[in-house]
């Protein structure tokens, strides 16, 4: 491992690891993907009739899934903004595109679940009004993405207990784990402690 160095980054953050080691870390961890089992849970196992779920409960589960789809669409769009910003190094760009791909997979799986429950999946917005003017360098882009990923972890953590269909809770937990890995990798790339605590809320 490279010798730790301490220098003030462009944004004022204290960098505790060399840029090379962070790049290497990004390349290694970027290979993690959402498990096939998580996708199967969503796309193949959701059957309201099978579980005898009440219409109201199904409707509520669909609403929660569609809220998640909406947030996933926003994440895809945010990574697109980052990818097209010209501010990311090639190594970081590869990881950003890979993370974006994960979010696309989440959407695909969540949408299948919604349709299997008789619902209509939420669609992407034409404009998210991202604060693009505030993104001046790679650190800003990474901080922006990390904030979204951290919020997504909270959103899934909050949704898991309220799904009527427990298969959906299981699948949401699988996605949560993926988003948490994204968050940790982005924090590491920012020179922050990737896992800042034993618990998360």
């Amino acid at each position: 491992m490279k010798i730790l160095q301490s220098k003030i980054s462009e944004s004022g953050l204290v960098e505790t690891m060399s840029a090379r080691s962070r790049r290497n870390f990004l390349l290694r961890t970027g290979a993690v993907t959402l498990s096939a089992a998580g996708v199967a849970m969503l796309s193949g196992c959701v059957n309201a009739g099978k579980y005898g779920t009440a219409d109201g409960a199904v409707s509520q589960d669909v609403k929660i899934l569609n809220t998640a789809i909406g947030a996933e669409h926003e994440a895809v769009a945010a990574y697109q903004v980052g990818a097209e910003s010209g501010l990311l190094s090639n190594d970081v760009l590869k990881v950003a595109v890979q993370f974006q791909g994960h979010h696309k997979e989440h959407i695909e799986a969540l949408a299948k679940a919604v349709m299997s429950m008789g619902g209509t999946p939420a669609e992407a917005k034409s404009d998210y009004g991202f604060p693009v003017h505030q993104l001046k360098n790679q650190t800003h882009v990474l901080e922006f993405a990390a904030g979204l990923e951290r919020g997504a972890v909270s959103a899934y953590a909050g949704a898991i207990p309220v799904f009527d269909n427990r298969d959906l809770s299981l699948a949401a937990a699988s996605i949560l784990a993926d988003e948490a890995m994204h968050w940790a990798v982005l924090r590491h790339a920012l020179g922050l402690d990737p896992v800042p605590g034993a618990f998360f809320s």
């Binding site: 509520q60 929660i64 972890v153 909050g158």
Partner: protein
């Protein structure tokens, strides 16, 4: 003819006054004890769906306090939220954040809620402080 007030009605009136007093007390409690600085940290939980100044998966939070629920222009609310007729105050926010689906069944905010009293108090204090931001005016 003088109107008559039954004992039951009187009890309900007293109960209502007590509830109002309790609500006012709750408002004061948050206003005086909520830690907006800590609330800012807790707000990180919200940014998966919300932002102060722009609508996202959830509506923007600028101007939330005092606003009627489901009325921020440009956001597509659930029918339940639109029809709730709630005014967002410390009391109503506290109840909603404790259990969104319990307080407004059918809301799109499908999370279990924030169960810690101090966390809700601090978060609400931050939302109140947000109203004073230049970008929120």
């Amino acid at each position: 003819m003088m109107p008559t007030v039954s004992f039951g009605t009187a009890l309900l009136t007293v109960a209502g006054l007590l509830a109002d007093a309790s609500a006012a007390s709750a408002e004061m409690s948050v206003l005086t004890s909520g830690d907006a600085t800590r609330g800012k940290q807790l707000y990180a939980q919200c940014v998966g769906c919300h932002s102060p100044e722009r609508h996202r998966t959830g509506p923007k939070h600028c101007g939330l306090i005092g606003r009627q629920a489901g009325t921020a222009a440009g956001f597509d609310y659930s029918k339940s939220m639109r029809e709730s007729k709630l005014i967002w105050s410390v009391r109503t926010l506290d109840s909603f954040l404790f259990s969104p689906l319990g307080y407004i069944p059918g809301t799109n905010m499908g999370i279990s809620g924030i169960k810690d009293d101090n966390d809700r108090s601090d978060l609400i204090a931050y939302l109140i402080a947000m109203n004073e931001w230049p970008e929120c005016r």
